[in-house]
Symmetry: C2
Subunit: 207 residues, 2 copies
């Protein structure tokens, strides 16, 4: 598993020409870093007497951020698997018309599957970003800059996931599918850059 | 060393209430991911016959992105060391006036050192971002979405580093130092969000 490798090795493999990990895994890791930082701020607030009135909210926030972090870590692995399948199909024989037809159908299915992973990641990154206003308002103020970093990572992860959705959609011939996924992506992106900037303003005001 | 730990362990420690790794390490990792993706695109362009005319430029780009990636990995470790020093000084005795004075002077020095690390990281992230237009123009077009992810990570790393500079400056009493570092940070941030959006437009046009 890619996430069981040392950080240095992960970065070496990311920098190499090997087909995976690539931008999809990088996007998932950005989301995981964002969620982990929300968890850190929650963990720095749990049991602190100055924050006794928000303990229930912080515990719920921590449960949410940890679930989203683990989802990002799963999607990091899923992205590698989906991309490997696209590479495998790309190597199928195409000497006869029948082989070409079989390969083309398999590639279309592999690309649809490879689109589903960054789309799910985009959804997860939106959820992580949406935890940040509450983390800024209720979390330990000494760690408020970390909420800002979390928001930056979640929004970068969202937009990176969107690029990975778009590059796959460019090779998918099913126009109805492409149109529907573009609309879904558009809705996920709408207002999120502004939300990130709003969170950063609130964070800077508390620094 | 933190970067020798598995990715999963790094994320677990980031999510925990342990003082390090925190947002500073996350910012350095974002920069490293960005630089690694520029390297990946360069590596996918090296030796390709469709890109014979840009081989010298791509080799230079690869040298630059790898040097910046390794700098980010060094700064990730340096951030942990600088933060540990701040924590250590924070635990120094303050029972007598003399102890208070010694601790306060040590803390001011530790905070200045802890500010230097994210400031250097901000500079490195700007350099990574500046490699992206050439990587978009000359790199393997099949990996162009990865340049977009690189730009997102480099800009997020820059702004995350800036938050870490700002939170330290808030506790530093040397007003001349604080003023000078704020100006330096302001210059580093100026126009970089716009540059990132420009790169993303060029990337999307090539998808």
């Amino acid at each position: 598993m890619l996430t069981e490798k040392p950080v240095n090795t992960f970065l070496d493999e990311l920098a190499s020409s090997a087909p995976a990990p690539g931008g999809g895994s990088a996007a998932a890791l950005a989301g995981a870093i964002g969620a982990a930082l929300v968890s850190m701020v929650a963990n720095l607030t749990v049991g602190k007497k100055d924050y006794v009135q928000v303990q229930d909210d912080i515990q719920r926030l921590l449960g949410q951020s940890e679930a989203l972090r683990h989802k990002c870590q799963e999607l990091l692995e899923a992205d590698v698997a989906a991309y490997s399948e696209v590479s495998r199909v790309g190597k199928m024989p195409r000497d006869t018309d029948e082989q070409k037809a079989v390969r083309s159908a398999a590639m279309q299915q592999a690309l649809k599957n490879a689109t589903a992973v960054p789309m799910q990641l985009a959804e997860v990154c939106v959820e992580i970003l949406k935890l940040c206003p509450e983390a800024t308002a209720k979390g330990n103020v000494r760690a408020v800059s970390d909420v800002g970093v979390a928001a930056l990572m979640a929004e970068a992860g969202l937009r990176a996931a969107a690029l990975n959705v778009l590059i796959n959609l460019g090779s998918i011939k099913d126009e109805a599918f492409v149109g529907q996924e573009r609309l879904r992506l558009h809705a996920l992106l709408a207002g999120k850059s502004e939300l990130k900037e709003h969170i950063l303003k609130e964070v800077v005001a508390k620094l």
